[in-house]
Symmetry: C2
Subunit: 315 residues, 2 copies
Amino acid sequence: MVIGIDMMGGDYAPQQPLLGVDLFLAEATPGIKLLLIGDETIMRRHFVSVPAAVSFLHTTEVVDMQESPTKALRDKPNSSMNKGLQLLAEGKIDAFISAGNTGAMMVGVFYTIRAIEGVQRPTISTVIPKVEGGYGLILDVGMQADCKPENLLQNAILGSIYAQNILEIENPAVGLINIGEEEGKGNLLAQAAYPLLRESKLINFIGNIEGREILTGKADVMVCDGFTGNVILKLGESIFDISKSRNLDEDDYFKRFNFETYGGTPILGIDKPVIVGHGISTSKAFVNMIHLATKMIETKLLEKMKEKFVSEETE
Amino acid sequence: MVIGIDMMGGDYAPQQPLLGVDLFLAEATPGIKLLLIGDETIMRRHFVSVPAAVSFLHTTEVVDMQESPTKALRDKPNSSMNKGLQLLAEGKIDAFISAGNTGAMMVGVFYTIRAIEGVQRPTISTVIPKVEGGYGLILDVGMQADCKPENLLQNAILGSIYAQNILEIENPAVGLINIGEEEGKGNLLAQAAYPLLRESKLINFIGNIEGREILTGKADVMVCDGFTGNVILKLGESIFDISKSRNLDEDDYFKRFNFETYGGTPILGIDKPVIVGHGISTSKAFVNMIHLATKMIETKLLEKMKEKFVSEETE
């Protein structure tokens, strides 16, 4: 298996991606090869001798963190991000990781990587620590700012398969993020999504999840529109930052908000593994993103998603 | 000035409302009278001798915390909640406070208290502690689950007047809660609301506020749809609960998330002061709700809101 990494993406690239690769290589990881995509001169200089598991792809352009996504893709065909996505589309790498410009990654994925057949729109998620231990999953967190009830159902299915295979939760409970407990509560989207979720045989739907229950672990997979989800994600991150600045991040719970422990978030609903990292990713986040990519491949996550959507179509 | 209090509303009624009244009466509060609405026998038993500032209105029915709002209003005309709203509508009390069934309060207000002329829909807000001190205001937090761009503008105006008078912020900065920094980002609602907010001369609009900036104090007044706002509100409350359970609530910042320090939230956009308390309100929350009602009357908050909307109409 070959994991491709955008070594030029992120606020601390290429230094932190390189240090992340070092951390990964220090572990015993037989059979996993890394393709480092970026400025080969800089990358080679980092290694005293190039490890056997590592190879390089030299690229000459870099997508800037603040650049317009469509402009970046059009004007920088030889960027590390573009090249990585192309290699993935062509099957020359098995997964692609980038902590670069998130908007450009999303647009790039849209143009190069196909959606799973039956999936209307790709989605991104975030894991969120449960108070009693373990992690839950919230999706969508930004790709579907406006969405339809069917998107919420599809995200629930994708999220359930992810939770089973990656978070290792056997029969993940699915909740609809909402502003009341009973069916019929909420905005028009939530009201329309509830019966779809309730009727689906592909998920274990347990009902509405209010804001106060997001962190309690009542549900393992929580679905909402990407606007609400993005606000939750970033508010959660800021709570970790605040607890850190107040020296509370050694608390067993609050320290688990540190996004670096889970690295990055995969784009789900597409037919190849793509992981998007936080712009401020450090070596720890990179090594965890490589682990996540490995696990997505080893558990045959995407094959399972494809099967589920095929079976849904024929039901 | 007479403040009416629903003594039967809330999970710990009438005990905690009565203790809250005690706390209030222990302060020097000349000119403020309290009308206690509820079971007179129980209330009288609480006082060794009835204080001069206190009078009673006996009611025989109680709206239950989980009762259907419309059913409660139809079937229990003599409830403490209904009677309080009626007295307020008739001008016999100057403000009304209830920690009872929130849904019933909202429906009851809708039928008994008029909107300020020019205001399309009433709104509820929450104050949220800023990291560097002071409080910001988020609205709407649940009455406007689906809303129009114009609602966000009106809420920004109402919130600004509230922040000036009650939070004592001179020229409150207004932010649009959104999922990106620049104009044009966000869902359809946020995209449409941005130019309305930017063009309004009645507010000091500073642009978009991402989830990570909600607690930083970048904006004093933050507007969003009531779905997103309700999730933020309840997530914020759960963070306080979690920090409390982990003995972190003595931290100077996290302890300010305790809703009891600000008591309850007014319904804004209506032409009388109505304060809705949390179901789990204790005496501390009740005394702070009485203070809030007093301040709303003393600062002539509603007169100022009415003037602003009249002037907006004629602009």
